[in-house]
Amino acid sequence: MTQELNLTLQVWRQDGSSDPGHFETYAANGISEDMSFLEMLDIINEQLIEDEQVPIEFDHDCREGICGTCSLMINGQAHGHEKATTTCQLHMRKFKDGDTIVVEPFRARAFPVVRDLVVDRSSFDRIIEAGGYISINTGAASDANLTPVPKEAADTSFDAAACIGCGACVAACPNSAAQLFTSAKLAHLNLIPQGQSQRFERTETMVDTMETFFGSCTNHGECHEACPKEISLDFIAFMNRDYVKAKVKNRKLAGQT
């Protein structure tokens, strides 16, 4: 038997980037506890359209928790209070009847608000463009398992690759730092043999690009708590180590230990 919730929503409304923005209060009545948070917003929007009002804009795509498009600060926490959950996978059964929920966009100077709850996260794309790829000639397709990869390193690389680039780490960070995102993208390639040839160049360019848009890490650990993919703070330490190594290393001897 599903229960129905009656909620009060305080939603950030902002008519474009030049508008100062404000909170608007909406009543969300008869919400099924089986709905996801985004489905609840869909219901509100249907009502708004019926009342000939402008619906609330928010980012969403796969609604399966793997694309990194949905965002939202829900009651001051990125993707809501549930651990390791994206907003699209946050279900209304996690809220109580009569709750007041505050919904805001992810905030950072590098994430300007486009409209309402939609923010522009293209600063992340600039970081990826700076080196988040492998661009070496690999020849024809080689046999599987030709390159031995230690199991532990492969697992760690996979853990880092789980980052969906949603920006919750930046939103949760009091410094608006993008260390967790950048370090995950670096570790994903830097921990496996295929990424070694460009390892230090990549670390230098991606970190330098990150620093043009984002703040500086003070090791609070808020990013890890907010991360829907539970990316570890250990990756930030790997990045810090590799960055100074990149500055010091004689790259004419790259590949030699």
């Binding site: 305080q10 950030w12 923005g21 909170f23 600060m73 009651n75 001051g76 926490q77 209070h81 905030r107 950072a108 100077r109 590098a110 994430f111 300007p112 522009d120 293209s122 600063s123 600039r126 463009e129 700076a130 661009s135 949760a172 009091p174 410094n175 608006s176 730092a177 460009q198 990549r202 230098e204 360019t205 970190v207 330098d208 690009t209 620093e211 043009t212 848009f213 984002f214 703040g215 500086s216 890490c217 003070t218 090791n219 609070h220 650990g221 808020e222 708590e225 907010a226 703070l233 250990d234 330490a237 790997f238 990045m239 810090n240 180590r241 590799d242 960055y243 100074v244 500055k247 010091v248």
Partner: protein, 276 residues
Amino acid sequence: MAATATNPQGSTPIFRRKWQLPFPLNIYQSSIGRKWVMALTGIGLLGFVIVHMIGNFHIYEGPVQLHEYAETLRGLGGGLFPRTFLLWLLRIGLAGMFLLHIHSAYSLKERSRKASDKADFVSGEKKYGSKRDYVAANYASRTMRWTGPIVLLYLLFHLADLTWGWWLGDEYVLGDPYHNIVASLSSLPVAIIYVVANVALAIHIFHGTWSLFQSLGINNPKYNELRRSLAKGVAGIILVGNLSFPVLVTAGLVDDDNRKCEVGDVACLEHEAEKH
């Protein structure tokens, strides 16, 4: 792979490097390099705090031993260097580490403020409409920007108090540190300043000791758990050790009574020290 800093659709960069300094100064141009400098100078300053505290424990042995310890510091490297040469070298190095630690902290705070600065934000702290719910950040990590300046102000007070003897006046005796410390800490307001400042110092060190491993990239799942315990241990020892001085003087357990040498009789102190 070239670092691009243009963002056609999105935000404007907060920080653009105008030129690249030669190695190794280019490391200090980046935030991560600056965190390395903050961590390394932090280790140096932490070392100073610990050695300073242990040295000060000589006060519990008596005026002669504390005088002897002070003389040892002045004569460091004796036979190789002129008297007080090594001490001055250490002092200059210490001052340099302080300046770098403060500059890196301040400049990084500014970068973070810029990265959060907008109409929606207040003084570098993000202002969300709902009460910001910190999950992982502890009291120590959130107050680094306050405990740091408190320790700096205290440091200046401490130098003026016991190194330069500004407000002890005639009570201040060069060469009798035991008497100076007792005379200064006997005043309750001064003792309270020492207690408050050392609590701030311990809180600062608690986050710093854990954080420096992260900044330096010293990370290994095998001993990551130990970093927190180390931070607790180091901060705890410094807290107890440093608080013992104002507390025991205020309690009257360390005083100028029953001294072998009269207050200010430096010649007697030197004579007694030679007997050891």
